[in-house]
Symmetry: C3
Subunit: 182 residues, 3 copies
């Protein structure tokens, strides 16, 4: 084995390494389960409400979700986030953003929000966006970015409706799997 052959190998390795595609890791590099609690303002619960209807289609009002699958309702929220399903548990942060009911034929919403976490466990934000067909048992949306402990993270969030009471309270369970962690 001469120097020539070894240097040939060197450049082969070099070429191979430099042209290698990005290695994808399908096992989450970080994993998180959060609950958030949404109490929609209905004109009588100003103290407890955590969200409010700010837009509605023609003929609807801002204290009751519209008929026809709430089509056209824009709801803004600032909901407490907990680590278990108990609204009274110590919050670890807030879920802040909006959902817009966007379908005339089923319950479905366009969702855009950020988890702002601030606890001994986590400090930072996680931004999410996607479609939320609320009647499905689980719905996947995209985690498009993060800051602080979640600097540059990306992943997938699986949303479940964990409980609801009438059209005023509902609780979501969100399981976040990060696949890019930095």
């Amino acid at each position: 084995m001469g120097a020539k052959a070894t240097f040939f190998l060197f450049f082969t390795f070099f070429a191979l390494c430099s042209s290698f595609p990005v290695e994808r890791n399908y096992v989450p590099c970080k994993h998180l389960v959060l609950f958030f609690h949404d109490i929609i303002y209905n004109g009588r619960n100003a103290l407890n409400a955590t969200s409010v209807i700010v837009a509605a289609p023609q003929g609807a009002n801002l204290t009751k979700l519209a008929n026809l699958f709430h089509f056209g309702n824009l709801v803004v929220f600032d909901d407490p986030v907990t680590l278990d399903n108990n609204l009274q548990s110590e919050p670890v942060g807030r879920a802040q953003g909006f959902y817009i009911y966007d379908s005339k034929n089923t319950f479905s919403a366009c969702l855009g929000f950020t988890f702002v976490l601030n606890s001994t466990h986590h400090e930072g934000t996680i931004t999410l966006a996607g479609a939320d067909p609320t009647l499905k048992k689980t719905r996947d949306i995209s985690v498009t970015g993060g800051t602080g402990d979640f600097f540059m993270h990306r992943g997938i969030a699986t949303i479940m409706t964990d409980a609801f009471e009438g059209e005023v309270y509902f609780r979501l369970r969100v399981e976040i799997k990060f696949y890019e962690c930095w």
Copy 2:
């Protein structure tokens, strides 16, 4: 060529490989052309309408896009998606989200939506966001995430207004080029 030299090379290769930057691939790893069809509710087309104005600037109403380049109109949509430009073609999914006309000087919108695909070809979601200066022939927006068949994907979507009728119907052609595919 002794063992010493070979091991020197080994560690050189090792160092080179580990410090290599991420390899970027400028050829799309996946490519998709979709059409979607938007029919804005005007007070008389409740059956056919696929979108609705839910917010407007002071003085405007919710059944007609506002004057002054529609500045301040928020439109929510749940539009059928087809593989060709025919509204009657078998839909392969829905485009769900919103656009907000955000300029006083030209037609321009802030766009946020998700393709929810559900056909024999594709099962999954693609989330997009960006600025849409609608008078330009083509507009590029960001594909910020995906789920299902489009798990963790990122890319660029090029939007063209393929057709429009008055201020009620318009059809967009969207060419999606994914550069991160997983």
Copy 3:
């Protein structure tokens, strides 16, 4: 050192290279400081206004930000972007999008917008999303995508309120650090 040993090394290198995780670079690959200027329509400044309230909670109107930390106000903007803090400087583009005040207990907004840059320095778009607790000195949000000169970029944007006058004018300083540049 025989051929056998060298080929053993070859495959070792090969395996090592192919399983290397993505190399993360914590030094920004691109860096940008931009200012943008927001003048909210108040019913009397139609000529100068660059943004408009298009949704409000029950009882509030569209020419004045609502009480209770503006909770529920949706503002759409198309603001000039400059390289320094002077509103009169030559704009290098526009910041286009929306913010929604989403808290009853403090000033906080959900922010979604795109920088549309068009100058001798930069041509392209940068899309951002995140939570903006406006009373904090600096706030980090996610840069979720880009086009043109910012093709496929990702990063973090640090926002500072640089100045404000009453509830009508405010100026933001945005420092963008890209960590994925392509």
